[in-house]
Point group: C4
Chain length 229, copies 4
């Protein structure tokens, strides 16, 4: 079943590790096949850099039922919640990468302090609210997805392809598993730059809307002029 | 004598170095064989990444007497004290890893600020009290073990597999030498995340007991559902 | 056309990546051939470490028109503005390197806090003013070059081979593309040292004019005595 | 002349680079042969990792005159001043390593905050006074050596094998070029740990004299019991 999908997911998990984003064995990447109604995701407890395509877990997008491969990541219900909420999503990545997680633990959104950020994310990177005690004890992983959707607050997920989960880590996404990983790498760099910036200048101000617009649009808008298109 | 034990200890010391946890030639790992009543440990002054199995020191768990191999690490009495205090321990690691040691030098316990921490340690990572002048001049290494046991304050060492030694570095442990090293790597990541977090937000609050419980239990409790078990 | 020029530019872009200065795929390097009236620069959207000489974009120094190769970097108008303003420039590099960009995002010039800095830059590394909304919406990239020239404030660009662009990143230059890359690497180290220094000592003072003079002159002045000349 | 000496010096310079201590091409190592009355040192402007034994500069310990090899490092008069002041020295290393230089730029001595430090340096790492304008304009490099000797303030240089030069970088030494490099690596780790520690806890206190004594003595005193001796 869906050999190419499982190969892309294995490769994307390996890429997450190659970027140094999967510390302490954390992290996982998935991709959805909406026509087939399935999501392929890293198996639970397997390091990101040693996922074999045949071991990738394939689950039902609708029910979460395991259809093929090993037992899926315990974070699978979070991924499913995001795919269900946002039709435009093709891939999702989860990391505990160093600087993104530091912002998540500080429960602070990452302000857009420069063009590196503006090139990738249209405005601040949001942070979720805390889950309350019942939520932690209940459908914890699915509700983690729900508070991410809540934190986006109606913004377009492809314009804001990243969210911090309070006291936890980062989720990023894109049109494919590979793009979700690229966004995870960009988020980590954005988070590191912002960390250094606020240490230098606690009152650092976000960039102007005009500068944000210019940079995001030159890469992503209908008038984009970056790259070889 | 106990060839497999010495090979595991040599490999665990090499793993400590491979994780980048043995800066400036510091660090050592041991494993106990309780049936044989012996502890195998890195020889003194040999870099972690060049310990040959035949050079591993084997000492008596009861008396500390050298039974085989080269002269043991000068920290051997600390290891022995831990094995004697806690029957459940199989392996012990000692590091001066960068971020864990920074917290140890600041004499601050590491609060549980996120799920990376909660996945590995059930609550804060404790820090020992200072040794007084007589203790420093006396059975210094054995007493270092004693203040670690004191700092755990009755908590289960397998739920709290790490302790900071004030002004010194870190000790971690587990059911084997290999697991002690895994915990040393996790501690360093936890310490780095917490360092960044308090720099961003000096008043960062620990996670709720409910979130701590959920994460620690999903990996370690009787209801654990992480991994391919 | 100008095969050697394109090879030097491809190699300089590769060197930028090899120095770890081209995070998140950002960064580009160019070199001018003033006799031929052309500038060779990295093509847009191609990672720095995989630019083939035949893909290097060659544009007119005067008009910016593409003469050969792939579509040029979107930052090309910035490079051209610098070459037109300063006759002595042979190469220009642009990075979002971690520490230099952190200072740029904090909108703080880098004070000369030590001899590592004094060996490379004659005084503080300036930071540009913000571009206003009209400038962001208009000839943004060319005006980025203009505010760099404005920030140098008449200082000799070969004595001050680096400038921070507020909320953006760094531009460096030199007599060749290779030297522009060397200056980008030196700037990143200078920025990292200054970052650490002000964290240790918020009120750290710049070096004395006499020390700055001694170090800059021993490498660069007419009385230079560094190296094998 | 003294082939073995030149080979040791070339190897020690390569080791400095391999330790990551020779950023931005800075750094140099020398060794003295007191019987022959010569000092072998890195040639000026040659990167540490590409010094060939035949290119190592050999100068007179007494006069500084070049006897063999390429033009010596511009820091040679500093090295000579140290060898002349301290008979016990066999090797000297100079670096601009990241954390040591940050403390030097902050003009703060590094307090002994833990046992990593106490294992290598008997008390705080001193920092020199500033050179005044006449000193900067005059025999700058020789006087840099003189203020290092002044900063040691009569302490035994083999007990305090490192000194920060204000606004500049670090000098370390030992009984050989190889040991000077080991001390440079230890100093960088000590400086990094102390940097993190004071960021966590601005008022961090030095270790007790009893702890300092125990650690320094277990490695270095007449009662040393560390290693395979």
């Amino acid at each position: 079943m869906s050999e190419a999908l499982r190969e892309r997911v294995a490769a994307a998990n390996a890429a997450l590790a190659a970027h140094g984003l999967a510390q302490a064995s954390f992290g996982n990447v998935s991709e959805v096949d909406r026509e087939a109604g399935v999501v392929a995701i890293k198996p639970s407890g397997i390091p990101c850099d040693s996922v074999r395509p045949e071991d990738v877990a394939v689950v039902s997008l609708e029910t979460g039922e395991l259809l093929d491969g090993l037992k899926p990541s315990s974070d699978t219900p979070t991924h499913l919640e995001l795919y269900r909420a946002w039709e435009s999503l093709g891939g999702v990545a989860h990391t505990h990468s160093r600087f993104a997680t530091s912002w998540a633990q500080a429960k602070r959104p990452i302000p857009c302090l420069g063009t590196t950020h503006a090139d990738h994310v249209d405005g601040p990177v949001p942070v979720t609210r805390d889950l309350d005690d019942d939520e932690c004890a209940g459908e914890y992983e699915r509700l983690t997805g729900a508070v991410i959707v809540e934190a986006l607050d109606g913004r377009d997920p492809l314009d804001v392809p990243a969210c911090l989960v309070a006291s936890h880590g980062a989720f990023t996404w894109g049109v494919s598993a590979a793009q979700a990983v690229e966004h995870a790498a960009a988020l980590e760099e954005i988070a590191a730059l912002a960390f250094n910036t606020v240490l230098l200048e606690a009152a650092a101000e976000p960039v102007s809307p005009a500068l944000l617009r210019r940079h995001f649009a030159r890469k992503h808008g209908p008038t984009a002029y970056y790259g070889q298109r």
